[in-house]
């Protein structure tokens, strides 16, 4: 995540993130323009080439983001609105990082066990619920999902060693 580099103020201004985001958007637009040129963005005997349409979308991305960047730079001194305070951002990371770890878990051992563990740990550590309650909710959601997808609707979700133990 961009623009959390001002620990002294313990908050990030809107205008800083605005410029940083627009710069990333500009880079994406430039990437589109570059690839459109590579593919050919003009005409050949078959009509418009593959890069004809994307070229303009990329150019518009670049132009719009430059306008946003310039607008942001002009307000750099005056605009003091706060994008996020450090304590708020910590709250965001409290769910974002575990969620990323959860997705890694899905990749490694299938979806059902990480789902139960994720809900259990999040409830117990963030929500301060008792071990029993947290584990029961996690297990309940996971078992419901298993019944719903694997048994009733027969839509296969990622599975790993634990599911193999019970024959799936």
């Amino acid at each position: 995540m961009e623009g959390k580099n001002e620990p002294a103020h313990r908050k990030v201004r809107v205008v800083t993130v605005d410029i940083a985001t627009a710069a990333v958007v500009f880079a994406l637009g430039a990437l589109v323009v570059y690839d459109s040129y590579r593919l050919g963005s003009g005409w050949d005997e078959n009509g418009p080439q593959a890069g004809y349409f994307p070229l303009y979308t990329g150019l518009l991305v670049c132009i719009s983001s430059v306008v946003v960047i310039v607008g942001g730079l002009l307000k750099l001194g005056s605009d003091t609105r706060v994008f996020v305070r450090l304590d708020q951002f910590r709250q965001v990371l409290v769910i974002l990082l575990p969620a990323a770890a959860y997705v890694l878990g899905i990749q490694l051992v299938g979806i059902y066990v990480p789902s139960a563990v994720f809900i259990w740990l999040f409830m117990q550590l963030v929500g301060k619920y008792s071990l029993l309650r947290s584990a029961l909710v996690g297990l309940g959601v996971s078992v419901t999902a298993f019944m719903l997808f694997e048994v009733w609707f027969r839509i296969p979700l990622p599975k790993g060693p634990f599911e193999r133990l019970i024959g799936y």
């Binding site: 809107v14 605005d18 593959a50 994307p54 979308t57 991305v61 607008g71 979806i111 999902a145 839509i155």
Partner: protein, 502 residues
Amino acid sequence: MEELNALFHGFTVALTPFNLMLMFVGIILGVIIGVLPGLGGANGVAILLPLTFAMPPASAIIMLSCIYWGALFGGAITSVLFNIPGEPWSVATTFDGYPMAQQGRAGEALTGAFTSSFIGALVAVVMFTFLAPLVADFALKFGPPEFFAVYLLTFCSFVGTGKGNPFKIIASMMLGFAMAAVGVDIVTGQLRLTFGFTELLSGFHFLVAVIGLFGIGEILLSMEEGLSFTGHGAKINPTIVLQTWAKLPRFWATSIRSCIIGCWMGIIPGGATPASFMSYGVARKVSRDGAKFGSGQLEGVVAPETAAHAAGTSALLPMITLGIPGSPTAAVLLGGLMIWGLQPGPLLFVEQKDFVWGLIASMYLGNLAGLIVVLTMVPLFAAILRVPFPIIAPVIVVICAIGAYTVKNNMLDVWMMVVFGAVGYVFKKLDYPLAPMVLALVLGDAAESAFRQAVLMSQGDLAVFWSNWLVGSMTTLALVLLFWPLISQGLARMRATRPSTA
């Protein structure tokens, strides 16, 4: 009355026990989705879409559209009881709905909201019934230039009607188009924007984007605010319902106005949310009790709810007849149609009569079912809202992950969902609108191929978009809308300088 015959045939399609059951299941799921943070209409329908793959298309669309109606109803519950708009279009409902709940009149506010939602939707469905076949018939004559002009109109109207920085709207929209271009180009077979990554061959799926942007993004925003719900209790009993119903006829003028605003704004994309605000604003100006608006006036609940529901319903008109969705949720429904092998557009009315009229019939029945469900089950839904966020948040993340995976059975999509979630969080905080991005991602390929065919017809001459009065007026209107922020600024300046110079 050919439409009426077709409609009765539609009722026979929709009125099977299986479909009726799906209708109620859909409504209940929809209200739950509308009530929970992080599971809006678009995202909820996206997650539940894979469950319908096994059903016949008519049943599937009935269930999904009922989820949509349910979400529209559900937004009102959170607005009135918790002062938290469950959906953007119910923001205006909080202005008078929450004060009513504070005064202990939550039941009255909810009854008013649900009933006027129902009326708004009903009027829009009647309009739909008679207008849709005409529009479809008209659109049968469309060629590629006309279709591209309609796409152009759709996207330009985001700039023209959108609030906020027009350049952010354009940037967000064009990123959507760029993402739609990723993968194999259908015309030339070349790989576009994959940069050698084989994982990108099949491109970005818009359902994954929707689940990430709206679902995970919303969860991140809610976490940041450290939400703790404090809500008012709601009692709805038959006496309150009847008492409220007795009051509603007084607001007939407001209702009619709101229906017209809603139907009109719904057909134009971006509809329901501006429609609800506009309707509230107009009602406040025109009403005799206008000065009291904001302090808990029933009329202030009726106006935005009628318009939002009318707009939400009529947003399906361009989706079915032209293949152009009027809202992100309609876009997800459109994506569903394509997955079931149905090509939305004017031909649908010719080739898939059962499907189309079954859907229209289910709009009548679904809204009636919705009214019954929400009036009887409000306490249950309010109880769901009281489930603390530390329980809801991880469960929703799990549901989103399942939803993202089932789109294509692809693990990379689950990672993309997390990335889209972070993007959604930043974009939402910086006022980059997400709806144009999603619509561009859905319509990108169709818009591009219409554009290519059109310029191929004219050998690259852009004058093809002015080649007859129809396409010419649409293109011109689109450009006016595109430059509307500039035009309106110019007009305002002229108005401001005139008195001083005169």
